[in-house]
């Protein structure tokens, strides 16, 4: 059995977002890049599944679409434990473009993990699109996943509750919080081993771009917070009713 984990390369969650002077692209100077938080959890869960599978899961592969600078993120994924990394050498343009680049390398896996969204452009698109391109089933908002034979038991969040469901392989699991408790931190040994693991670079294919960002803007600065003293807390509720008109 083989697992594929899709990896996004995104700015650290504390990054102060700035754009270039034309406001058409992120100003990446000084940005620290990380594995997209949900992808990191997915990889952690994939490693747990492999370790508990008594050899049934032969390998965990990670794949990303990006230029050479994303290799640091892939090396981190290898250090966490992935056996092999694939990088498709192009600038990711939109969800459809990324899913289409991944489709030729994503066949033949029993289980594919994708994050519910990437924390940069919040597209929430690649996992579902790739499943459709591959013609396999997908399940989203996955917060838990157990494997037994070919049977997969999944916990998923639904609007206003949660469900336990059964599915079969091949499957695309689009994951969110809960899929693993804490993301795994690479150990020294893992970092050493990652250097000699295979990182395959594949040329991009021709794909239409269906959507594009024309420009970006930052939200307008907020007016100063109106403060009320602690012992007059009640007046704040009246302000919410009479001034803000939200009660």
């Amino acid at each position: 059995m083989k697992i594929l984990v899709l990896i996004g390369n995104v700015p650290d969650t504390t990054t102060k977002i700035k754009f270039n002077s034309e406001k058409t692209a992120l100003d990446a100077s000084g940005v620290q890049w990380i594995i997209n938080p949900w992808d990191e959890l997915a990889l952690t869960r994939a490693m747990e599944l492999k370790e508990n599978s008594a050899g049934a899961i032969e390998m965990v592969v990670v794949a990303t679409v990006g230029r050479q600078e994303t290799e640091a993120t892939l090396r981190k994924a290898l250090a966490i434990g992935a056996d092999k990394a694939i990088r498709i050498d192009t600038e990711p343009k939109d969800g459809f473009y990324v899913a289409s680049q991944l489709a030729p390398v994503a066949g033949g896996y029993d289980l594919i993990f994708a994050g519910i969204e990437a924390s940069d452009y919040n597209g929430a698109a690649v996992g579902g699109m790739l499943a459709e391109l591959l013609g396999i089933h997908s399940i989203s908002s996955v917060s838990g996943l157990q494997l037994e034979g070919g049977q997969i038991t999944i916990n998923r969040e639904i609007d206003g509750g949660s469900q336990t469901v059964k599915m079969t392989t091949p499957l695309m699991a689009i994951v969110q919080k809960g899929i693993a408790k804490e993301p795994r931190i690479p150990a020294m040994r893992g970092i050493m081993m990652a250097r000699s693991k295979p990182l395959e670079v594949i040329p991009a294919i021709e794909v239409d771009v269906l959507t594009s960002f024309e420009s970006f803007s930052l939200p307008p600065a907020k007016a100063a917070c109106k403060k009320v003293p602690e012992d007059q807390a009640k007046t704040l509720i009246y302000m919410l009713r009479d001034e803000a008109k939200v009660l």
Binding site: Q163, V165, F213, A244, L247
Partner: protein
């Protein structure tokens, strides 16, 4: 040409977002000078279907196949695609809900459509088709162009509001022709949160952070929420510690919410927390640390002790309700 809006239900009742989505569809259809058609999948009776007519929907396609209750991502995407072809839709609107996020990408591939998720506001232009969406987890806004002829759009909850507009509605029976084998998701167990306001539906949200000190202190916060008809939420460490259920975790890695009013009690306002709540229309912060970053995001604030402030809030809410 038309705008097709997929109005989700649970157990035969439309979700609140479905009415917001219907209102958006009607406004967009007017802008595009085409009709708006609603699609309902699953057992929804006529009285319930007619409620869409309160939000301007004149035509409904209803497929009452019971299997949709299983929320199978592939099957629902397939049914919406078939409906979209039948309705000649060039824009398909979906809620940015758990289900919406699951089906919209699949649907966009089937229709060879451009997908934009979590949009807010009507298109700025139809030629080229231009919409706004938040990016970098609410830290910025992006202007997106859709180059494909067909568009699949998911709408961010509470970004448009539902607008009453009573019209007469025609219900057309529709059969997407799905068979049992299309539904691959086998449901073992469903846990529905009952008797509580859903976070995704809540107009007011009352949220607590580590400053609440422990799960035993949540009673006043819950009392306030109940008086206000509000949903309850929490910061990530609070759910990680098991003080509150994971479903209440809001922020970058939890739920993104946009209520009219958000109360943050004992929450420092870390950037990852704000990412999930900064689209709230009004934010009220109570924190004993005057330097806490939450005050930069808040509209109203009290530098003080949550345990002294919440009882006063409860008293004041009781006064204005009586």
């Amino acid at each position: 040409m038309s705008v097709l809006v997929y109005t989700e239900n649970w157990d035969g009742k439309f979700k609140k977002i479905s009415f917001e989505l219907a209102s958006y569809a009607v406004a967009l259809a007017e802008q595009m000078k085409v009709p708006a058609v609603a699609l309902s999948l699953g057992k929804v009776d006529e009285t319930e279907l007619k409620k869409l007519g309160n939000y301007g929907i004149e035509s409904i396609m209803s497929d009452t196949n019971e299997n949709y209750i299983g929320l199978d991502n592939q099957a629902i995407a397939k049914a919406v695609a078939i409906a979209a072809e039948k309705a000649g839709a060039n824009v398909i609107l979906i809620a940015h809900s758990n289900l919406g996020k699951a089906i919209a990408p699949r649907l966009s591939i089937k229709l060879k459509a451009g997908l934009v998720t979590a949009i807010h506001g009507l298109p700025l232009s139809l030629q080229p088709f231009t919409v706004l969406k938040n990016v970098f987890t609410n830290k910025a806004v992006g202007k997106v162009l859709v180059h494909a002829e067909k568009k699949v759009l998911t709408l961010a909850a509470n970004s448009f509001g539902s607008q009453e507009n009573i019209v007469t509605t025609i219900i057309n029976h529709f059969d997407a022709g799905l068979s049992n084998t299309d539904f691959a998701t086998k449901i073992e167990q469903t846990n529905k949160v009952t008797g509580k306001v859903l976070l995704s539906d809540a107009d007011i949200v009352v949220s607590g952070g580590r400053g609440m000190k422990g799960p035993e202190n949540w009673a006043p916060l819950e009392e306030l929420a109940e008086l206000l008809g509000a949903g309850t939420a929490c910061s990530r460490p609070v759910s990680d510690e098991g003080w509150r259920p994971h479903s209440e975790h809001v922020g970058q890695t939890g739920k993104m919410i946009a209520p009219n009013l958000y109360f943050a009690f004992g929450i420092s306002g870390a950037i990852q927390h704000l990412g999930g709540v900064s689209s709230s229309k009004v934010i009220v912060a109570v924190n004993k640390d005057p330097e806490a970053p939450i005050f930069e995001a808040a509209d109203y604030g009290i530098v003080g002790d949550v345990f002294k402030v919440i009882p006063q809030f409860i008293e004041a809410v009781k006064e204005i309700k009586s």
